[in-house]
């Protein structure tokens, strides 16, 4: 019998506790399942898999007893519903996938299970990962466990990985898988006081993950601490012959990198990220981050990334274009929803009209338009040229000796559910203004909690690294975490 609050442990402490046999994976898993049951009002899980979890936990306990534990042995995780899980319903939180039950396992999750992790269930996300508040999900919006001081209003947990971020912040899993196409790991992490890293494009296999925009999509973890995110990314990473864009490079020891420190590192501060009308609290947080890193021995360097302002408009060409192509597969024939029609075209049109939500339809239509005859060069090709320029901006900074770049993670703290419902789609898109450049350039980016605003809501800082240099992000992120401390919502649910 133990008196430890098992679900409040970090992933690293839980790992060490399991290895020392202080508690079992079955005890740990049961504690999370009990928390999940009490927190259903937060709407983080779209499918709980308790039987599956307990079976995996029992197998882990056997391996732990035999001394044959993997690096993630017995650790209960939540899985974003964008990762295909063999025999377990996977929907991308879209009606069009209906009751789709994959007959295969995504590479990311198969590696986590290979390393001994336990699946608690599938987590809510924006439909096909398209959104910044998780309000486009067919299962409704997950609720942020954080609330403003003296206010009971429900806030969004960000998106698209809102379920992952909210579940980690509310102790409903030790850590969660997530995906990031324009900020979908880093923005929800910032909104919930958690750590989220989008690795370099190609670091993690995309095989078996529902595709949104293939040249931008990367999976990564959302976790409680920098160390936890390093442990989990280690397990998710590595070359996969089934994804031709997966990179054949050795995966470094990420956990070992977190104690490197920042002495003599050059941290770039991009002047184009000082947006007009940036809230004072965000500007102060950024200054605070610079101060912490300076105190730890790093040098701040003013840099210019001149094409920053074009990243978001270019993204809203490239991402919808790729989405319109990727989502052509949902046709009512092979899997998912089917709405009858008088002929094959009507079958397709009716199925897609009934199955896709508003935001997804909007993006498919924009993508279809920018790829259509006569517009392809003016829109798509131009956007891909702008993307090259965005990447050059970063390459120039890194060639000048910059080791990592520090920016705010988001332009604001979490906002109210429904607060954006009357706004133009563009206002929602602006949430990703600091994160989207990173996807356009394929670089790694981490969001680390760094403080709270006047209402007591968490705010995050973002670090952007050189290609395949996640290690420096973990090292710098750890310095910020050590200075800022950790952030936990007061339990009200």
């Amino acid at each position: 019998m133990t008196t430890i609050n098992l679900t409040a442990l970090t992933l690293a402490d839980a790992r060490d506790g399991l290895k020392a046999r202080t508690f079992s994976s079955t005890e740990l898993t049961k504690a999370f399942l009990a928390n999940m049951e009490k927190a259903r009002g937060l709407n983080t899980y779209v499918l709980e898999t308790p039987e599956h979890a307990l079976k995996m936990a029992a197998a882990s306990d056997e391996r732990l007893a035999k001394g044959a534990a993997g690096p993630m042995e017995g650790l209960p995780l939540g899985i974003k519903d964008l990762f295909c899980t063999n025999g377990v319903r996977t929907t991308a939180c879209s009606k069009i996938l209906g009751n789709f039950v994959p007959t295969y396992e995504s590479t990311v999750t198969s590696q986590l299970w290979r390393d001994g992790a336990v699946m608690l269930g599938k987590l809510n996300n924006d439909e096909f990962a398209m959104g910044s508040s998780n309000e486009t999900s067919a299962f409704g919006t997950p609720i942020n466990p954080w609330r403003a001081k003296g206010d009971n209003k429900h806030l969004v947990a960000g998106g698209s990985s809102g379920g992952s971020a909210a579940a980690v912040a509310a102790d409903l899993c030790l850590a969660a898988t997530a995906t990031d196409t324009g900020g979908s790991i880093r923005q929800p992490a910032a909104f919930t006081g958690t750590v989220g890293i989008k690795p370099t494009y190609g670091r993690v296999s995309r095989w078996g993950t529902v595709a949104f925009a293939s040249s931008l999509d990367q999976a990564g973890p959302i976790a409680k601490t920098v160390r936890d995110s390093a442990i989990m990314l280690q397990s998710m990473s590595g070359h996969d012959a089934k994804d031709t864009t997966s990179v054949d490079l050795p995966v470094p020891d990420f956990e070992a990198a977190i104690r490197r420190g920042v002495k003599d590192l050059k941290i770039g501060i991009p002047r184009e990220y000082r947006l007009d009308g940036m809230p004072a609290e965000i500007a102060q947080l950024w200054e605070q981050g610079m101060k912490w890193l300076k105190e730890a021995g790093a040098t701040m360097v003013d840099i210019s990334l001149p094409h920053t302002k074009y990243a978001l408009p270019a993204y809203y060409i490239v991402a919808p274009a790729e989405a319109s192509s990727n989502l052509a597969r949902y046709d009512g024939v092979r899997y998912g929803l089917r709405e009858p029609g008088k002929d094959i075209a009507a079958l397709y049109e009716n199925t897609r009209a009934a199955g896709f939500g508003k935001e997804v339809k909007r993006r498919i239509m924009i993508g279809t338009y920018v790829l259509s005859a006569g517009y392809y060069d003016a829109y798509y090709v131009r956007a891909q040229k702008v993307r090259t320029l965005i990447k050059y901006d970063f390459e120039r900074a890194y060639a000048d000796g910059i080791d990592a770049i520090l920016t705010p993670a988001t332009p604001s703290a979490a906002f109210g559910i429904g607060a954006m419902s009357v706004a133009s789609p563009i206002e929602m898109y602006l949430n990703d203004v600091f994160t989207v450049t990173v996807n356009m350039a394929g670089l790694p980016g981490i969001a680390v909690p760094a403080g709270v605003d006047a209402k007591g809501l968490p705010l995050g800082l973002q670090l952007i690294g050189r290609p395949f240099d996640e290690e420096t992000l973990f090292a710098v992120g750890q310095v910020i975490e050590d200075a800022a401390g950790s952030f936990h919502p007061a339990k009200w649910w």
């Binding site: 007959t103 370099t200 408009p313 009209a353 891909q384 040229k385 993307r387």
Partner: protein
């Protein structure tokens, strides 16, 4: 650039999404707001810039052209909304 209602209907048709006449006006407004936003790109000088094809430089991987999977109709058809005799079923396509 902006789209008119005929173009909205044409895009919907190309995207194979049924759109009611009463949705067209609203969609037109939303699409035009997004198009106005992305039109900012026209001010960027892209002369002589190569369009990005691969965000991380890598050599396209190749594999032997051999059968390494397949012969598993049951798994392929497992999620089919309508199936018959080992086939997907669609409305009659050929007269």
């Amino acid at each position: 650039m902006s789209v008119d209602q005929t173009t909205v209907k044409r895009i919907a048709r190309l995207a194979r999404i049924a759109v009611n006449d009463n949705e067209v006006e609203h969609l037109q407004g939303e699409l035009n707001a997004i198009l106005a936003f992305i039109d900012q790109l026209s001010e960027v000088n892209v002369d002589g810039v190569e369009a990005m094809t691969s965000v991380m430089p890598m050599v396209m991987k190749k594999r032997q052209d051999i059968v390494n999977d397949g012969n598993d109709a049951e798994r392929v058809l497992k999620n089919a909304p309508v199936r018959e005799d080992g086939y997907f079923v669609v409305p009659k396509v050929v007269e």
